[in-house]
């Protein structure tokens, strides 16, 4: 029982992190980035190739984070340009199509050129015992990194004027413009942040299992489910939803079987939409 809950929390932190970068971009810009998982995979490959080229793990991870941020910036400057010119539903639909296209291209290319590549960031040492349950060291290190990242996000959004400015655009874009905030600049900052978060996803996942070139879509799908449950545009919502779904998924895997856990997550998301259409902490329209 304790083991299942602890596993669920570890998994849930991963889920929450997955959703954080995804939900921010949707909350701020109305852009559903279906290539989000591929951003994580590209960062993973950058780290892998750096390590293969002889860079040691920690600087390689640093390079991967920079690459993630750069990817976000490139997204903002290229395929998101035509998307920003649309509004409302047209923007969501166009963002679905264009980012899905990018995802297919990235997936196709990586599968063709590097079909067997997989990033594993090994954490040395045996299991760590928590509440009498031996936990893999990689899971614990990954969880600690995720907690630190969430703490930093919280400080950024609550405690800095730039973070407040970003939140104000999520709250009311016109209101933000009226106080002198340029929404497109805030969106660029959030795209960069989302790219860095995708890279952190790649790093923490690679501590538990190899991040291969094929995991892009499953990352995106999970991010989408957690975002729906947590509420669009809410980092805290993503964190809470991640934990809840992580524990649910862990129970489902242990009691029923792995094959059903994704379906059970979908059911949980569907129930959330029925009860609270804007998610746990989402902006009410």
């Amino acid at each position: 029982m304790t083991a299942i809950i602890l596993d669920g929390i570890v998994l849930g932190l991963q889920f929450g992190l997955l959703a954080a970068g995804f939900t921010l971009v949707y909350g701020l810009g109305g852009v559903l980035n279906l290539a989000y998982g591929q951003m994580a995979v590209i960062s993973a490959m950058v780290i892998l190739f750096s390590m293969n080229a002889g860079v040691s793990a920690i600087p390689a991870v640093g390079i991967g984070l920079v690459a993630g941020g750069l990817l976000g910036l490139i997204f903002d400057q290229t395929i998101l340009r035509p998307i920003y010119r649309r509004h409302g539903e047209a923007r969501v639909l166009l963002s679905l199509l264009l980012t899905l296209g990018v995802a297919f291209i990235v997936d196709g290319f990586l599968n063709w050129r590097y079909p067997t590549a997989g990033l594993t960031v090994g954490i040395d040492g045996g299991p760590i015992e928590i509440l009498g349950v031996p936990m893999r060291r990689g899971s614990i290190v990954g969880s600690v990194i995720i907690l630190v990242v969430f703490a930093l996000l919280l400080v950024f959004f609550r405690g800095t004027s730039l973070g407040r400015a970003v939140r104000s655009v999520i709250e009311d874009e016109e209101g933000a413009r009226l106080v002198g905030i340029d929404p497109s600049l805030m969106l660029r900052i959030i795209l960069i942040l989302s790219g860095v978060l995708a890279a952190v996803v790649a790093v923490t996942q690679s501590m538990v299992r190899p991040v291969t070139v094929t995991v892009g879509f499953s990352i995106t799908v999970l991010a989408l489910i957690v975002t729906v449950v947590g509420g669009l545009g809410s980092v805290t919502g993503a964190f809470l939803a991640g934990l809840i779904l992580g524990v649910i998924s862990s129970f489902a895997t242990a009691r029923i079987g792995t094959f059903l856990s994704l379906i059970i997550l979908l059911v949980a998301a569907a129930i959330t939409i029925l009860i609270r259409p804007s998610g746990l902490l989402g902006v009410k329209e």
């Binding site: 004027s161 407040r164 209101g175 009226l178």
Partner: protein, 232 residues
């Protein structure tokens, strides 16, 4: 200070207002009166950078600012309070005010000016903006605009949805601001209040300016008296 020349604007290619020209001089309080749908909001949005005029020129402080986005206008000293207020509902009163001076840090002096003007905001500073009453939200919208230390404050129907007593209080606060040297431009349906407050005014009807003059002259005009002051 502000000069609008032959401005036309509307939505999706259909102009709602045509050939609008008016000006506001430094230190003045000017009103634009008109009934619902006359085009006051369309005019203000185009003038303050929330939309782009389809033709015409807007000058502010002797410089052309036509089509400049709202975020640039407010940094240049023109603050706009729309009728819908556009506050940040899930942020506290304090946070809303702090964002008003973005990107500069909110200076204590301006905050105390706002709190002196609206003591209610000081009492509710830790409350979320979305939980305030209509009157308090209007105070916060004006307070947030003041945080940018504007030279011209543009208000679209500041008394919308307010009870008569609160509407009076709103104009009392605006009178204090005037005395402190702020230039004001107000669109209003509550014509008697605006008329008592302002120096000059323009009447906007069906998208064009049909009358203009000092507030006294407008108050004496039979058309204004019958259409907006309820005097027959």
């Amino acid at each position: 200070m502000l000069e609008v020349r032959e401005v036309a604007a509307g939505y999706q290619g259909n102009d709602v207002i045509h050939d609008i020209s008016f000006h506001v001089d430094e230190g003045e309080a000017v009103m634009i009166i008109g009934s619902n749908g006359a085009g006051k909001t369309t005019l203000f949005r185009a003038m303050c950078g929330l939309s782009v005029p389809s033709s015409g020129v807007v000058m502010f402080d002797g410089e052309e600012v036509t089509g400049h986005p709202a975020q640039r206008m407010v940094r240049n000293g023109l603050a706009f309070v729309p009728a819908e207020r556009h506050l940040f509902p899930r942020m506290t009163v304090q946070e809303n005010l702090s964002l008003g001076s973005y990107p500069k840090r909110p200076d204590q002096e301006t905050i105390s000016v706002v709190f002196a003007l609206f003591p209610r905001l000081s009492e509710r500073r830790r409350q979320h903006a979305g939980t305030l009453s209509g009157g308090e939200q209007q105070m916060l919208a004006v307070g947030r605009a003041l945080m940018s230390r504007p030279r011209l404050l543009v208000l679209d129907e500041p008394t919308t949805g307010l009870a008569p007593k609160l509407a009076h209080q709103a104009y009392e606060a605006l009178t204090v601001l005037r005395r402190q040297g702020l230039t004001l431009l107000i669109a209003e349906q509550q014509v008697p209040l605006a008329m008592a407050f302002s120096d000059r005014g323009y009447v906007l009807e069906n998208g064009v300016i049909s009358l203009e003059g000092t507030s006294e002259a407008l108050a004496a005009d039979p058309r204004v008296r019958s259409a907006y002051l309820g005097v027959t």
